[in-house]
Symmetry: C2
Subunit: 561 residues, 2 copies
């Protein structure tokens, strides 16, 4: 069978259908070709599925795909399993999230996803009615193949849902389970999938093939990494991470084989955290820019590590020629602000614009003085500088027709150490799901990957400062990031924090005196709570971790925290 | 029994509990006191319900309420029905949305909501496990009283859910159904509730008491308007709209009575659309400001109708002394921009600040010229003016510690006729769910209500213009609002559009030539689609209609539209 992990643009039926049909045409001799969940539209069109023409247009695309499965002149005629939205004619939500199995121009079976994830970034109960528990099984090439959709396989502990469709299917006596998925990636997710499906394959002694989509839609990234699990061995085959692929794996009574060789050993290589972030962010940026229709980006370059890393990642993704950097010094800026920006952009080949803000800052202050007969407060002066820069960046965005990238990291975004309508301006944020300590690690990885200090050592080594007031340092108002980040991980990600990170965070905080620790945790929690209004208006953040700001964390504004 | 519609601040247990216990103490001789859905925490704390301390703190509050139901010295001891989050000890989501019936310090029964709305602004499947279909019935004062929670009563057509808990309860042979609710208001909703519950009360020949909460949480407003339905008559009793109330209604074999009089006639008065919007927006603003902790607001005054109406509504809500208006003329501003702002603020007693932006505009242009050797484009010049004003408003916000209100109406917000980080700046938008034609109607209602032209006739009569370029008119780039608004209503609200509005919109558009109409509809749909990124970063909008921008309409950014 062929595992096809493709990169879909939401509701771009012409492009999606062409890709799907090309894979079908190229694999006419396969017995089965498997595409991912909601492949026809891409996952997930959100409320677009309720628009009056959605089902009509999706069905036209599906009909073209079904027609493409008709027997060719040579008579070869594979089964095709593909995910699509279908209409529910019964009671409940008017749609299903379905798997359609097709052969020779006919629909062989339609199966409706039973378990609808409605947590974190998932909201499937909003649109879909769960399917009933009829097993979807087809006899393909002498094997009884059972089909599932994504979450259907994730209730191994039988705690989250009453049904366990994977177990039901396995007990139904199938030879092989094929699962189609739209499984977003975050740090640690690849291993989580492997561990879970190895466990259930072993428990029910059934081989499993798992096909995912790849690419990014808004803040959500899919890593592909489709795989096959042999119940006796584990993951014996895996498609690449972060790129489109369609590859054939054979299955018979002796297990999986590929390219004529038996697959008998575990294959997965797990990325380090920085390796993962680098790939995840690159595809996130690449796809957002391409799918929305931009060519390039504009980034403010402060000389600090957040903007430096953002510019470097953008240059790797889009090419240096499609990145414009702007350094906007004020009287409070250090010499490094401009010089380090110059060194960075020289190393990358990125064009850097120097745009002084002193005159504008003076003009805002004069206007304030005229209105109030007094100088603006320190906070006002800091905010105004950030907003002047944000406005200038938008001028560059207008001029080049490029997207502005905002550069706040997760530590800053958590505690509100960012100016709304200022440095928060932008259409996308690359590093907003990385804590400051992870930003450093990724910058170091970046330089190691390129074999030289593209991000200048001075940028990595300087003490963090917004440079909005004389002698300002982040630690004037925040705990050291080494401490802050541990508190934030435990507070924001809670039960979704990776076990190794949890124990690490707890161990690091254990070093603080108990009273100080409680005070600090309370103070940080308070900062997080009272800056929710800023995050509500923030640019989409590329999701890298199990709990990112955005849809995955929905908090009220007017509440007692 | 006593119907208690109170205004809760989310998770403010001290305040919420005090209110609830006061009503209990004041009504010790009642047989039953009914509070609304999730009354202990307020509806809906969103992801706060998953925070580790949520259930602990809510339970402490509930325990205080339960203790307050203990028999007093006089021996009087009412039942109390109240909504709270409870723990699910079985499979599935770890929480329930429950009704707890309490008497004399003991929990008599706990019922879990069966139908969990997950559409529009509702997302209950995210946190709650549905309850099973056991009927919650108690014998109170000789009557068999059955209990339901909100959505449980809304499946009269048996199309949206497989269960119909209201029918099940009615067939169980109860004398009276008590429903606790957190039912947001939007235009037409009051009548919708009355029609539905009159229909089901008649169908099952059962009287129904419906208790709602009142007040606003973020963008959602609850109108209170709790009511009682006699199956033979309809709505015979209603608590006030938009204010807290606790009032006693008696029920016996002959029906409802209050203050010793039999209730035998329908009572509801339905607000006109402008009356409704006026009340809805006032409580929305009042509660947001109070619950977040502001005292006043800052509004940019352009001399146009949107800002004028916003300032007028804010003055009525918060008092003129707590509203600061700022007029920020540029070389493109008409004389009316300043003069009409002055007239408006004089009429209201609102302090108006004059803050020229000419020097700043020149300074931005000079900086642009230095970078690019050319004048900024028309679009850039327009955007910069809006962003200068947005930055100045934030200075006033800093200075006064007041919330900035943004002033885009729904027509503008739909087609993206607004500048991100400019006139979209603000923490709350009062009129963002009113189409431009509704803004005019509300302004006229406002003046009629006050018996004089507080909003100057010149403001209402002038042709709409953003005044960002020489001689600019909204109709240069937009269809006339009378046409645009009809297209938008059909396009954005779709099936949720009120029937009378739908037929009106269709009739108005029928006047256009068919080809022109299709072109215009396609052009408007395209504008809506391609400005989704702006709305994603917009301030919360007070929800007034059945489908508002915000959680109620979730659209992807990177998609083919």
């Amino acid at each position: 069978m062929v595992l096809a992990q493709l990169n879909y643009r939401l509701c771009d039926y012409a492009a999606n259908t062409a890709k799907i049909i090309r894979v079908i045409d190229e694999n006419r001799n396969a017995d089965l070709i498997v595409f991912s969940e909601l492949a026809v539209s891409g996952y997930h069109p959100q409320d677009l599925v309720e628009e009056p023409d959605f089902l009509v247009r999706q069905q036209q695309a599906l009909d073209r795909i079904i027609a493409a499965t008709r027997s060719s002149a040579q008579g070869a005629c594979p089964y095709v399993a593909i995910g699509a939205v279908t209409r529910n004619t019964g009671v409940g939500k008017r749609l299903h999230d379905s798997l359609v199995l097709v052969r020779n121009g006919e629909v062989v079976l339609t199966y409706h996803k039973q378990l609808l994830p409605t947590y974190d970034i998932f909201d499937e109960h909003r649109h879909f009615e769960p399917g009933d528990d009829r097993a979807a099984v087809a006899d393909i090439n002498g094997h009884r193949v059972g089909f599932l959709v994504c979450e259907d396989g994730w209730n191994a502990d039988e705690r989250d849902y009453r049904a366990n469709p994977l177990r039901t299917l396995a007990l139904h006596g199938v030879d092989l389970i094929v699962s189609i998925n739209a499984s977003p990636s975050n740090v640690g997710k690849q291993r989580l999938r492997h561990d879970l499906f190895t466990r259930v394959a072993r428990a029910y002694q059934v081989p499993i093939v798992y096909v995912n989509q790849v690419g990014a839609n808004d803040q959500i990234v899919f890593d592909g990494a489709s795989f096959a699990v042999d119940p006796a061995v584990g993951v014996v085959y895996e498609l690449p991470l972060f790129s489109e692929a369609a590859a054939e794996v054979r299955y018979d009574a002796h297990g999986f084989s590929a390219n004529g060789a038996r697959l008998r050993t575990p294959v997965a290589r797990y990325l380090t955290d920085p390796e993962f972030y680098y790939q995840q962010i690159k595809i996130g940026l690449h796809d957002y820019v391409r799918k929305v229709g931009f060519r390039g980006v504009v980034v403010g370059s402060s000389g600090g590590i957040d903007s430096a890393l953002t510019i470097a990642l953008a240059a790797d993704t889009l090419g240096a020629a499609n990145v414009k950097a702007v350094t906007m010094p004020s009287i409070y800026s250090s010499a490094g602000s401009v010089n380090d920006s110059k060194a960075l952009c020289r190393n990358l080949g990125v064009e850097l614009y120097l745009h002084e803000i002193g005159e504008l800052f003076a003009s805002y202050k004069a206007g304030f003085l005229r209105s109030f007969g007094a100088e603006p407060s320190k906070l006002t002066r800091e905010n105004v500088q950030a907003r002047i820069r944000g406005t200038i960046l938008m001028e560059y965005s207008n001029h080049f027709g490029h997207l502005v990238l905002s550069t706040g990291n997760k530590s800053e975004m958590s505690v509100g150490y960012a100016t709304l309508y200022g440095d928060m301006n932008g259409g996308l944020n690359l590093i907003g799901d990385l804590y400051k300590t992870e930003v450093y690690a990724l910058a170091q990885y970046y330089n190691a990957l390129h074999g030289r200090d593209i991000i200048p050592a001075a940028v990595i080594e300087k003490e963090p400062s917004a440079e909005l007031s004389e002698g300002q340092r982040d630690t004037d108002s925040l705990p050291p990031y080494a401490v802050l980040d541990q508190i934030l991980k435990l507070h924001i990600e809670g039960a979704r924090l990776r076990a190794d990170e949890r124990s690490d965070a707890e161990a690091r905080l254990a070093g603080l005196e108990a009273g100080d620790r409680q005070d600090l945790i309370a103070r940080v929690a308070n900062m997080v709570a009272h800056t929710e209004f800023k995050r509500r208006q923030a640019a989409p953040i590329i999701r890298c971790r199990a709990r990112a700001f955005g849809n995955g964390r929905q908090m009220p504004l007017a509440a007692a925290y």
